[in-house]
Amino acid sequence: MRLLEICGLDVTYSRGATVTAVAGVNLTLERGEILGIVGESGSGKTTLGMAIPRLLRGTGRISAGQVVFDGADLTELTEKRLRSVRGKRIAVVFQDPSTSLNPVLTIGEQLAETIRLHRDTGESTGVWTEALRKFAGPLARRGQSWARAVEMLRRVGIPDPDQVARRYPHQLSGGMRQRASIAMALSCEPDLLIADEPTTALDVTVQATVLRELVDLVHELNTSVLLITHDLDIASQYCDRIAVMYAGQLFETGASGEIFQNPQNPYTRALLASQPRLQTSGEALLSLEGDVPDLAVEPPGCRFANRCPEVVDACHTRRPELIRLSERLVLHDPDHQCRCLRREEVPASSPG
């Protein structure tokens, strides 16, 4: 059975008007697989990621579709059941470690509480016991959960983890904080990790190292990953498969090598071409005219039509579907899918 199967997912926000942030997304994820969700800001990739464990903020709602995780539809679960899934079977790493860690609790404590909650450590997890741990000093460091927390910090490559565990987030560098967040997410060995731009907020010099460690660790734990990023290079380097998102829809999906070497969707091509690369210095970067469409209104045709370099008249009136490409357009992944009228196979029964 597949680990994750998303069918026809729609996510809406109501800010005066109803905005459809994610529309008709179908995705699958196998065990141990790393899937990259690539898109610009506003593409809906974070919303998609947050919708899975149902962590949408504000007025966000899953208005249609199913999210089947290990056989169970998460959209049907009660909040109470969901809480036993979150942290334990589905974990999240957020983008900015300077705000996603609680400033008044030690690193070790923030890891330990997850471990205590989801694994059998014999320690109490009552509300008031948990609350008092903040003030307990050395007492809070006694149990198994603390020891495992320290061990996890060691596994993500943090030096002197026992000392670091006693520190507060503001005392660590950005890279260390994010490593700690990763350790926290993986501490209960979840089946699925949703990583929302895990290195974007870090210094460039640290990004590659942290990402490498993350990938190594998930491979060790056989954890599947949904890697959300705007950087197609990162996706192609670390992901098994890639799904490109634009304006709430999937525009292209396939194996990462396939997408990178043989991008078929005009948007994907534009995305690739617009990313600065050392090898292409001297050439002007491609930038697209126009803006992402207003997601409150469903456009009559393709959502990329107003900016697409390959646009034709039909693109404004007919909505393309995400379908498998014909053999001749594919490099080596037969499941390479694309949403574009201009890549649709001409029917075999055409006249002539």
Binding site: L55, T99, N102, A131, K134
Partner: protein, 317 residues
């Protein structure tokens, strides 16, 4: 933490010293001076000189100041002009009454403000939000003593449930003590609670929006653990600060409340002393109130560091 505590204590001591110095000079600025008031109708130039000598007012200002500080350290505030009792005695007798009122006010205020403010921040309750806002804004707009008058009108006069004035010490029993203390305590409590409710609510709302709360949810923690362990220690930081500052309002509110309810606490003592030009007493009361205020806020600073490690660690650096 130890270093931080020491720093805060020294800081508080310096402020107290500065306050004492200001009080010293202020009291000497009062027109007429203590001599004229003390002698009253028996004022003659000769008697004035003799009195000045007796009170040590003919010595140089600097000498007076040093003596003043020396006396203070030994907790000698001089003697009351009205009756001659030592100021310390007067204060010692009056203070427990004021303390009763303010402590009751503090407790009432906290019990009113904090739960209401916390509830008001959660989307789940419809009522708490507007109620909190109303208590806050209206509470800020009422004169404390007017609330007292209204309470007296309704509770003491109409319902005849509680006495309208006076005071019974605890030694007379919890019942009598409480029945005299509850109305003034309520007045002070509402006045204390008003800004506290508003800041608790807004601080809770702000903290709930923070990304690290989203992280806590993503880990599967229950709502109660999230609120108690993750939200409150952060949200309460500004609330704590405000609670400390508002004790100033409690103390000065006690002055009018004591007049209204005829409780012989230090507020009443102060007002009488002002009308009688009794400088030693005025000086003593002002000092006492300021010292309490500074001490309370020092404790708040220490608690603040317990809640928020950033302050503690930054200060020790």
């Amino acid at each position: 933490m130890l270093l931080y505590t020491v720093k805060r204590v020294i800081h508080a001591a310096i402020v107290v010293w500065a306050v004492a110095t200001v009080v010293f000079f202020i009291v000497r600025l009062v027109p007429g001076g203590p001599v004229a008031a003390l002698l009253g109708p028996e004022y003659t130039a000769k008697a004035a000189v003799a009195m000045e000598h007796r009170l040590g007012l003919d010595q140089g200002l600097w000498i007076q100041y040093v003596k003043y500080l020396d006396h203070l350290v030994h907790l000698d505030f001089g003697n009351s002009a009205a009756g001659g009792a030592s100021v310390s005695t007067v204060l010692a007798e009056a203070f427990p009454r004021t303390a009763s009122l303010t402590v009751v006010g503090l407790v009432v205020g906290l019990l009113l403000a904090i739960p209401l403010g916390v509830r008001a921040a959660r989307q789940s309750s419809r009522f708490a939000g507007p109620v909190a806002g109303a208590v806050g804004l209206v509470g800020l707009s009422l004169p404390t003593f007017w609330l007292g008058m209204l309470l007296i009108l309704f509770v003491a006069v109409k319902l005849q449930v509680l006495p309208a004035y006076g005071y019974e010490p605890l030694s007379a029993g919890i019942g009598p003590w409480l029945s005299h203390v509850i109305l003034p305590g309520l007045c002070l409590g509402v006045w204390y609670a008003a800004p506290l409710v508003l800041i608790t609510r807004s601080s809770m709302i702000e903290t709930l929006r923070e990304p690290y709360i989203q992280t806590a949810r993503a880990k599967g923690l229950s709502d109660s653990v999230i609120v108690v362990k993750h939200v409150l220690p952060n949200a309460f930081i500004p609330v704590l600060t405000m609670a400390g500052i508002q004790t100033g309002a409690l103390l000065s509110g006690a002055v009018v409340t004591e007049i209204l309810f005829a409780v012989n606490g230090i507020g009443r003592v102060l007002v009488s002393a002002i009308h009688n030009r009794d400088y030693a007493v005025i000086q003593g009361v002002i000092l006492l109130i300021s010292v309490i205020f500074v001490a309370v806020n020092m404790v708040v600073d220490l608690l603040y560091a317990v809640l928020n490690p950033r302050i503690r660690l930054a200060q020790e650096a």
